[in-house]
């Protein structure tokens, strides 16, 4: 019971940090982008443009969301370690596990707020330009959010292992490799020197981030069945559990020098 309240305290403070350190400013860019596209496309008012607007909105959510996930996932964890702000906290009854999971919860909440505000922005733009608020978009937004949670888990894992600079590079690497998984599979055609087991290992370990991409399907108006969404949820949950578990183990065993 005390453990949970400490975890919540860490999560709340993490969210407060993202607000105070102006991480959520990305929302301003999103708002500007949406307003501009709304204004431009609104003048044309052809039926086709509804798809364009949705495409832009979802792609922007995905892009800004991923950027923020990498930024806060690496930044807010590395900073605690590198600037040593967690020293006085870890000497208190707070355990390392509570700290790590509290941090994760706070970051996930930040992402949720981010996605929620962007979703509202997208719907507002659609309504303002005289289009309907298509609830089907949520079937693409929810998997985007799952993907972001997984990105944060990777970023936290790398932050416990190495410096913030290298952790950012590694996280970006995982995201790219996971989105363009054929690149990894075809790596040997470009770099024949790479042993097979490295390629096989990488493609087996790195999650396929395209499993979270329903953008095209949704904007074409294809419904996404519930069991597909359930499957994606399980896929994300399994990966997040493993990656977060590794991060936790590494965070628990390390020295704070």
């Amino acid at each position: 019971m005390g453990g949970l309240s400490r975890l919540v305290a860490v999560a709340a403070n993490t969210f407060r940090e993202t607000v105070r350190e102006r991480v959520l400013y990305n929302l301003v860019f999103f708002a500007i982008l949406m307003t501009l596209s709304g204004l431009l496309l609104g003048q044309l008012s052809i039926r086709q443009d509804e798809k364009v607007l949705k495409d832009i909105g979802l792609a922007a959510m995905d892009f800004f969301g991923t950027l923020i996930a990498i930024f806060i996932g690496v930044g807010l964890v590395s900073k605690e370690i590198e600037r040593r702000s967690l020293y006085p906290l870890l000497a208190k009854p707070l355990s390392r596990g509570e700290f790590f999971l509290g941090k994760f919860a706070g970051l996930v909440f930040t992402l949720l707020v981010n996605i929620a505000v962007m979703t509202l922005g997208l719907y507002a733009t659609l309504l303002a330009t005289g289009r309907g608020a298509d609830p089907g978009l949520l079937a693409a937004i929810y998997p985007i959010f799952l993907g972001l949670v997984l990105v944060v888990a990777f970023a936290m894992l790398f932050s416990t292992l190495t410096s913030s600079a290298l952790a950012s590079v590694l996280t970006v690497g995982v995201v790219l490799a996971g989105r363009f998984s054929d690149v990894v599979r075809n790596m040997r055609e470009v770099l024949p020197a790479v042993p097979t087991w490295v390629v096989d290992g990488l493609s087996a370990v790195i999650p396929n981030f395209r499993n979270f991409d329903f953008k095209d399907r949704v904007t074409y108006g294809d419904p996404v069945p519930g069991d597909v969404l359930l499957w994606v949820t399980v896929y994300a949950a399994v990966y997040v559990t493993i990656v977060l578990g590794l991060g936790l183990a590494s965070f628990r065993s390390r020295d704070f020098q």
């Binding site: 005390g2 309240s5 400490r6 305290a9 403070n13 407060r16 940090e17 105070r20 350190e21 600037r83 040593r84 702000s85 020293y87 006085p88 906290l89 870890l90 000497a91 208190k92 009854p93 707070l94 355990s95 065993s253 020295d255 704070f256 020098q257």
Partner: protein
């Protein structure tokens, strides 16, 4: 049943890995056996790099020991129950820039599961205690180093701990701040608390501590009351003389002579005091003051550690 001592270590050791490719082990703390007694102020002194911070990080769980054991209030280090009874100030603390001191202390209080009214009350009291009552609503981004240090002290006291571990509590503080910390530490003892603080400023240790533990290159070289450590038999007298200048002849038992303006400062053996007064009088001078000089902790350590150290440790650092 006797109460277990607040802190006990047996053979506590830690080495750091240094170098990237050819790694080697650098011992930072070697076989530390230390007992802190209930209700005492223990000074943990040693030159830069002697292992003070390493010890405190081991005790608070930030580092894992390579060997040895430690008990806090009789409970092993790995058990976490004792953490409710302990307060820790890290060396050069960094607290969150974006929080105000009140918010930080509230956060710290939540980690001890203190109820909200208690947190508010303690935060207010502690910030007043460290002299920050007028900056409670200012983000710490705008704080000076000494102000952050003061918040660091306040957060170490949020749970009214029975054992305080302070890593260089006076560092970065102005004279007023240092006095404040001295009073704070003494008040803690008065309230029955136990304090261990590290410092390499010996006069701080000298004015505060019941006992000091002396560390050198990772090894504990001495523990004890200052009175025992500073041999009383080397006591001598400082005599301040006005007048005779160079007319004053060399006196038997004189240890040192120094001109201070038109005055002369003499350091003499206690037994030579009568001869000095007679000699000064004969030379037409006047004795202004006579003061016993006890060997200071600083002198003691210069004697003990000076010169042949070899470990790269120096008081100047």
């Amino acid at each position: 049943m006797a109460e277990p001592s607040p802190l006990l270590t047996r053979g506590l050791s830690k080495s750091y890995r240094v170098g990237h490719i050819r790694q080697s082990l650098h011992p930072a703390l070697i076989d530390l056996d230390l007992e802190v007694r209930r209700g005492e102020i223990l000074g943990y002194v040693g030159p830069n790099g002697s292992g003070k911070t390493t010890t405190l990080k081991l005790l608070t769980g930030l580092l894992k020991p390579d060997g040895g054991e430690a008990w806090v209030f009789g409970q092993p280090l790995e058990s976490r129950a004792w953490r409710h009874r302990m307060g820790y100030l890290p060396e050069h603390p960094y607290l969150y820039d974006y929080l105000t001191p009140s918010e930080y202390l509230d956060y710290a209080g939540r980690l001890f599961s203190l109820p909200a009214p208690v947190r508010r009350k303690r935060a207010r009291e502690l910030l007043a205690l460290v002299g920050l009552e007028r900056s409670t609503r200012v983000p710490m981004r705008r704080f000076s180093k000494g102000m952050v240090q003061r918040v660091g002290l306040a957060q170490a006291l949020i749970n009214d701990p029975e054992l305080l571990l302070l890593d260089e509590p006076m560092s970065g503080l102005d004279p007023l701040g240092r006095r404040l910390v001295r009073h704070l530490i003494l008040d803690q003892r008065k309230a029955g608390k136990t304090v261990l603080f590290s410092t390499h400023i010996l006069s701080d240790a000298e004015t505060l501590c019941d006992r000091v533990a002396v560390l050198r290159a990772g090894r504990l070289v001495q523990v004890g009351a200052l009175g025992e450590m500073l041999r009383p038999d080397v006591a001598h007298m400082e005599v301040l003389v006005e007048g005779p200048g160079s007319g004053l002849p060399e006196i038997e038992g004189e240890m040192r002579r120094e001109a201070v303006g038109d005055r002369t400062r003499l350091e003499v053996d206690e037994k030579a005091l009568a001869r000095v007064i007679v000699a000064v009088d004969a030379a037409g001078g006047r004795v202004l003051s006579v003061q016993p000089v006890r060997q200071s902790l600083e002198e003691h350590f210069f004697q003990e550690m000076g010169g042949d150290d070899g470990g790269g440790n120096s008081w100047e650092g």
